[in-house]
């Protein structure tokens, strides 16, 4: 009997500490400033425990039933605390308020536990013995929890599941107590039923825990998030709505499966079809394999080298059934060589020559990415371009970011290449721009591969015609020591957003 009792004490002590640690950790994750979060949460929690201890004096009759109800309340509030906090962060402005309300609520309930238990047990066990035993197991529970939390719970279960698991332990103690104290409270069907319901609810939470953290993501994206992963390089998110699959890198849309063919056909064919018999092709960026899919439509191409920074990205698009179907398994094609490297550095340490080079990088949203749109980069790329070869550059939108677009064109020109700017309409992106760079004069191709969905020999020439609202505006070339492009880009997209 007494061992069972003290095991309960051990468990509730562990649970109490876990909720406190979870609140502190979660607040540090989401708000930063670890010292401040932990200090205030420990402070509030201990203060709330004091309130609980004080309130315990007002509880008179039916102590056991009260104890069980309090356990159930701790189980539900504590167990769902981290889920609630994640959701509060994603969907409300009041995260801090919810955080401290949860901490004070759990703290107050936990503060009630030990005083009530002491009073329940004082009839059975000598007081001296009782205080000693209860506090011993209380501390042992705290020790166990504090060791388990960083070593096992956070790395293996995560915050959402850890809280739910310990909620189940609390509810388990409640259920067990109805049996331990059956002499005082009888069969107590309501309390038992309540315990079972709490365990089922918390268990259900364990099963759907994944949905809770991705639901937090969902709020940032219009469609349902079906995949999200933080790699050392970026956050990869895939969303799906009906037949529309979308890829986001660091929250920037990369493609929509409904219209990506327009983007990728326009990226590859105006250039590659104009280099008859091209054998060696280089793609930088483009870890989704969709540009490579288009390139593989040319039988003359013997090798495609794809240089993308993120191995998880290329792995995903090699192995994921839906994604590899989208790029027609291009990464498994023996003609394709995938290299995971920083493109600028890779080019700098390499001497290979290519007849066609694709620079399909994310837009220049930072000085780091802006390096891939500089005179120095294009000069280096040009050294890898054969005399009759062509280079094509993804160049943001000439409509939304007109000066940025023409800045990229001027930068390619400054690097010593002839430039041939063109654009295409991609519904999910809007008007999108590219520029072809070459040593020799370029003319749009007269033949295209069979089976294209957007481009034809009759419309390819039209891509090179710019309506009045997208025509050239003056811009400085983008240079490593003066990245005007990053500033143009930030200003122009800010204007679009407002």
């Amino acid at each position: 009997m007494s061992i069972a009792l003290f095991l309960s004490v051990f468990l509730i002590a562990a649970c109490g500490l876990i909720y406190e640690l979870i609140a502190g950790t979660l607040a540090s994750y989401l708000l930063g400033d670890t010292v401040f979060q932990f200090s205030t949460i420990i402070g509030c929690y201990l203060f709330a425990m004091g309130i609980g201890s004080y309130l315990s004096r007002f509880l008179g009759r039916g102590l056991v039933a009260r104890f069980v109800s309090i356990e159930l309340m701790v189980a539900v509030v504590g167990g769902f605390s981290s889920s609630l906090l994640f959701l509060a962060f994603a969907y409300t402005e009041a995260f801090r308020l919810v955080l401290y309300v949860v901490v004070i609520l759990v703290g107050t309930l936990v503060g009630l536990e030990i005083p009530l238990l002491l009073r329940i047990l004082k009839e059975r066990i000598q007081f001296r013995e009782l205080v000693s035993q209860v506090l011993t197991f209380d501390y042992l529970g705290a020790l166990g929890a504090s060791l388990l939390f960083p070593i096992l719970l956070v790395p293996k279960l995560g915050l959402v599941r850890s809280a739910l698991l310990f909620g189940i332990f609390n509810a388990g103690v409640a259920l067990w107590s109805t049996w331990l104290f059956r002499e005082q409270i009888g069969s107590a069907p309501m309390l038992r039923a309540g315990s079972v319901v709490a365990i089922v609810l918390l268990g259900g939470g364990m099963v759907f825990a994944d949905r809770i953290s991705s639901a937090a993501d969902n709020n940032l994206y219009a469609d349902e998030v079906i995949f999200s992963r933080n790699t050392p390089y970026q956050r990869i998110v895939l969303t799906k709505w009906k037949d529309d699959l979308r890829l986001f890198l660091n929250s920037h849309l990369q493609f929509s499966s409904r219209d990506e063919y327009r983007y990728h056909e326009a990226l590859v064919h105006p250039g590659l079809a104009a280099v008859p018999g091209a054998r060696h092709v280089l793609v930088m960026g483009g870890g989704d394999g969709l540009a490579v899919r288009e390139i593989l439509k040319y039988p003359s191409v013997e090798s495609v080298t794809l240089v993308d920074l993120d191995p998880e990205m290329t792995h995903l698009f090699t192995t994921h059934p839906v994604l590899s179907a989208l790029n027609e398994h291009s990464f498994s094609n023996p003609r394709v060589h995938v290299i995971n490297a920083d493109a600028f550095r890779w080019l700098d340490t390499n001497t290979s020559q290519y007849e066609f080079i694709v620079a399909d990088f994310p837009d220049p949203t930072s000085y780091a990415l802006g390096k891939l749109f500089t005179t120095a980069f294009y000069r280096l790329a040009a050294k890898h371009l054969s005399a009759n070869g062509l280079m094509v550059v993804q160049s943001t939108s000439p409509l939304f970011a007109r000066q940025s677009y023409w800045c990229i064109v001027d930068t390619v020109k400054q690097a010593g290449l002839r430039t041939y700017p063109y654009h295409v309409y991609v519904p999910s992106f809007g008007e999108w721009g590219y520029v072809i760079g070459s040593f020799a004069p370029y003319e749009p191709p007269r033949h295209l591969p069979a089976g294209l969905r957007f481009l034809s020999t009759s419309n390819v020439g039209e891509l090179f015609v710019f309506p009045v609202d997208m025509q050239p505006v003056p811009a400085e070339p983008n240079r490593l020591n003066d990245q005007v492009l990053v500033r143009y880009y930030e200003q122009e997209w800010k204007d679009v957003a407002h």
Partner: protein, 501 residues
Amino acid sequence: MPFTRREVLGAPALLGLWRKTDRVVTGSFVNDSFPTGHRLRDHATFAAPKQQLRVPIVIVGGGMAGLNAAWHLDKRGFRDFVLLEMEQRAGGNSRWGENAISKFPWAAHYVPVPAKGESLARELFEELGIWRDGQWDDRMLCFDPQERLFINGHWQEGIEPEDGATVRDREQYKRFQAMVAQFRATGEFTIPIDRGLKPSPLDRMSMAAWLAEQRFDSPLLRWYINYACRDDYGALARDTSAWAGIQYFASREPEEKGPLTWPEGNGWIAARLIAKLARYIRSGSPVYRVARDGGTLRVFTEQAEYLAEAVIWAAPTFIASYIIEGASPAKGFQYSPWLTANLTLDRIPDQKGSEPAWDNVVFDSPTLGYVNATHMSLATHIDKTVWTFYWSLADHTPADARRLLLAKDWNYWKEAVLNDLERAHGDIRQCVAHMDIMRIGHAMARPAPGFIFSEERERWLKPLGNIFFANSDLSGFSIFEEAQYRGVEAAKRALGVLGRA
């Protein structure tokens, strides 16, 4: 009861904090040069030279002045000379280091893009391929963003404080810039200073006094100018000659956004000069005595005694009186002591929405901030780096600061550096794995009021017999271009002695 429930509940959480924050940082003091320096000062006993060699020109000191003197001699086809360097490796204030992540500087880390008139710097840079086909190599021009300032809890681009600047602050910035433009137009503020130097009453007052006289009272402008004095001269505005303070701003009008910089700082230039001139360099050879014997100069090192016709003294001028027979103490020469630290970061600290710049400064810090060694990398993704942290200890007198540098242990300085960086990077302690610290007692010449136009400086500009002084401290401040100019000038005059002018 040894613990209360409260303590047990609180302790593991605090334990969790402890695990995260108190990461062990390894490191030590490195490149200490004061033991040899103090032996020279105290006339300690050095071993007698093993051999006697007749070499027409001896260069003493392998910093930028000595290396450029050698560069000039070699370029003129004169091969019969040696360069004697006290340390195991030449480079002086352009020394550098390297670890698994990056090369990094130990002191001087940039050269402003030389203006058209600075023909000497251009000549060297053309030879090194930095200037080619009428263009600067764009991989050596500091990448964007060059500088940022942490002020009011966040980073702003540029070091001139913009955030929180009032109308009055901006008005004073403008007025200051207008005055600088006028000073520039006089043609008196040049690099090297010898080209345009004209006696000026500005040298008689401090930069702080000049600011007060001109009614510049904006706290932001004053901070900025004080920062500039600390950065270039290691001295506060109140300890800097107003002429020198203005020189910092008025001497340069770059045609290209710069400066020129490399991961290892000016070590890049030093390494190339050292490679080019290796056959002349004798490192690990402190010169402990220079004596005159008729028309011959006897230069003593433990390895050899050199019998020379001319000596180029490229070591700091204040050392001369300890070593050269008959040289009187260099009065009036002041030197700022510096502490530099290289921090190895295996994680990039939180940037609060900003992007790391090359030069990163914290407003109202007594230190000078840090330079990011991987800034000149072509990579778009950088997850490990090296920061070079600079601290000129300008709040103390140079003598006090030198005492402090030697009195405190590595752990003290490590904590001081981390505490300072913590102002801007709350998580810095979780990111730093290693920190080496270098203490330089006499790092930079300090242009105290009155020094530039002092008789004492004038005296040392003249040779002592056939000993020609070449250190940049003769210009009153330590920058690459002055060191190069002094070194080359001394080389020309030494050649003159040999009838090779």
